[in-house]
C-alpha cells in the first residue's frame, strides 16, 4: 500500500518545532551540511546521551544510554531500523526520504564512539531505501554502510526479526533468552536503534543534552515524530515536543477535534482514547494512572463521529491475527480466536463477555515477541472505551453511519 502513496510532506506546522527537518524537505548533502555542519567529535557522546534522556523511538521508549550500557562488548553490528512494519506508520520512511543524512550521521557517531570497525546497516522500507542509497553515495564516509530492504510484514520490524533478516533468514521474531546487546548478529553484541533515534543522536552530538531537553518534558525530553492518520485528515508526519497533548497534535495537522469521536494512540498495538480525553498528553510509556496516552512508535489514528470504533477494532484484530508470524502456538491459535470472539461479542450476538476477556488475559507474555500482548491490549482497550457502542450493538441500533 505504501508503494503507491506518496510520502507526507514535511512542511513545518507553525505551532510545532522543526528539528529533524530543519534542513528542509529533500535535504541532500549540501543542504544538510549548510544547516547542521560537519560531524561533531564523539568525545563524551555516551555521557551526553545519558544526560539528554533520549529514549528509543521505535516504540519501546528504552533509554538509549541504558541500551549502550547493556552491551557486553563493543557492538559488532550497529543497525538503524526503519522497518516500520505498522501499516499506518510513515515517519521512518519520511525521515529517511527527507533527512537521510541525520540518520547516517547518528549511525556514524555511534560507531566512532563505540567501535569504528562495527558493521553498519540501515534497514528501510522500499519507499525510504532509494533516498538512503542516494545519500550514502553523496558522502565519502558512507561507503561502508549497508542498506537492506525491510520485509513488508507487521512483525518484521521487531528487533530480533531484523537481526534474523540480516542473517539471511526470514525476518521473523526469534526466541531470545539473551538481549541483542549480549548476543545478536553473528551471536555477538549488537546495537539496534530506530532510525529516528539515530537522527536525534546526530542532533544531540552537535548541540548537547541541554539543547535536547529545552523542548519536551522531564519524562519525555526532546521531540518525536508522529504518523497521524484519520477520517478526513489524510496522512501526516509531524514533529512534536515530548508530552504534547493529543488535541494539539490533531489541530496542528488541520484536524477539527469536534469531528473526532476517538483516537487510537500507539498504532495497532495501541490504546483508544475517547474524544472527551483528547486533552491527555502523549507519554513515552504506559502510565500506571492511565492519565496519559502511550505514544508507542508514534502512530495516531483518528476516527470521525460517523465511524464505529468497535467495528474498526474488529478489522484491525483480523489483520493482526493474519500477521502472526505463525511460530508460537498461543499466538497462532489465540489471535484468530480472539478476532472471532471479539467480533461475536462486539456485534452484540454473544453476551457472555468472559469468553473474550479470558483470552485477553491469557494471551500476553507467551510468544517470542510482543505481538500477542499488543493485540490483546488493543481488544481490551476497545471493549473498555466503547461500552456505549457495545450496548447499542446489543440493542441493534448502533452504527447507522458509514463505517469500515
Amino acid at each position: 500500500m505504501t508503494l503507491t502513496t506518496p510520502l507526507p510532506s514535511v512542511a513545518p506546522s507553525p505551532a510545532m518545532p522543526a528539528r529533524l527537518f530543519a534542513a528542509g524537505p529533500h535535504a541532500d548533502a549540501t543542504l544538510h551540511a549548510a544547516r547542521f555542519g560537519p560531524l561533531p567529535a564523539t568525545t563524551g557522546l555516551v555521557a551526553t546521551l545519558r544526560d539528554s534522556g533520549l529514549t528509543g523511538r521505535g516504540g519501546g521508549a528504552f533509554p538509549v544510554a541504558a541500551k549502550i550500557d547493556a552491551l557486553t562488548g563493543p557492538p559488532a553490528t550497529i543497525i538503524g531500523n526503519g522497518s516500520e512494519g505498522e501499516p499506518l506508520s510513515r515517519k521512518d520512511a519520511t525521515l529517511l526520504h527527507h533527512a537521510p543524512h541525520l540518520v547516517i550521521d547518528g549511525l556514524l557517531l555511534l560507531a566512532a564512539a563505540l567501535n569504528p570497525k562495527a558493521r553498519l546497516v540501515i534497514v528501510a522500507r522500499p519507499d525510504g531505501v532509494d533516498s538512503v542509497r542516494h545519500a550514502l553515495r553523496e558522502r565519502a564516509d558512507g561507503r561502508d554502510i549497508e542498506v537492506r530492504v525491510a520485509e513488508d510484514r507487521f512483525v518484521s520490524g521487531e528487533a530480533t526479526a531484523v537481526v534474523a533478516g540480516l542473517a539471511g533468514a526470514p525476518a521473523l521474531p526469534k526466541d531470545h533468552p539473551l538481549h541483542l546487546t549480549q548476543r545478536g548478529v553473528g551471536r555477538r553484541p549488537t546495537l539496534l536503534f530506530n532510525v529516528e533515534t539515530l537522527a536525534h543522536v546526530a542532533l544531540i552530538g552537535r548541540y548537547g543534552a541541554g539543547w535536547f531537553r529545552s523542548l519536551g518534558t522531564p519524562e519525555d525530553p526532546g521531540t518525536r515524530l508522529l504518523s497521524i492518520n484519520g477520517d478526513g485528515i489524510g496522512e501526516h508526519v509531524l514533529e512534536v515536543p515530548g508530552g504534547t497533548r493529543i488535541i494539539d497534535a490533531l489541530t496542528a495537522v488541520g484536524a477539527n477535534p469536534d469531528a473526532v469521536q476517538a483516537v487510537l494512540v500507539g498504532g495497532f498495538h495501541g490504546r483508544w482514547v475517547p474524544a472527551r480525553h483528547l486533552t491527555r498528553s502523549l507519554t513515552p510509556r504506559p502510565a500506571p494512572d492511565a492519565d496519559g496516552a502511550p505514544v508507542g512508535a508514534g502512530v495516531i489514528l483518528a476516527i470521525g463521529v460517523e465511524t464505529c470504533g468497535l467495528t474498526v477494532t474488529g478489522s484491525i484484530l483480523e489483520y493482526l491475527a493474519a500477521e502472526s508470524a505463525g511460530q508460537c502456538g498461543p499466538c497462532v491459535l489465540g489471535l484468530p480466536r480472539l478476532a472471532t470472539r471479539y467480533a461475536e461479542h462486539a456485534s452484540g450476538q454473544e453476551v457472555d463477555a468472559s469468553r473474550v476477556w479470558q483470552l485477553i488475559e491469557t494471551l500476553p507474555g507467551r510468544g517470542a515477541c510482543h505481538h500477542p500482548d499488543g493485540t490483546a491490549a488493543l481488544a481490551r482497550s476497545a471493549l473498555t472505551v466503547f461500552t456505549a457502542e457495545l450496548d447499542r450493538h446489543r440493542a441493534g441500533t448502533c452504527c447507522e453511519g458509514p463505517h469500515r
Partner: protein
Amino acid sequence: MTRPTPSPTLHIDWTRCQARGACLELLPDLLHPDEDGYPLPAAPARQRTNIPLRAAQLPAAQDAVALCPRLALTLRREK
C-alpha cells in the same frame, strides 16, 4: 562486590513448544494447560516466558528441561 544469587527462571521458547505437555505433568503447580494444551504459567503476563522458580520447584524444572520432547525449555540463572 558480591551480588545475591538471582533466583532461577524457566525459559520457554514458544517457537519450539508444541503443547506436548510433559512440563504440565512435572510442574502442575507452576504451569496449567490453556484451552489448546499450551503451558499457561500462573505468573504475571510479563513473566510468562521467563518464569521465576522457587527452590523446591528446581528438581522438577530440571526434569522438565531434560524431558521436553521439543527442547523448548531452558533453565536460566542470570537475569
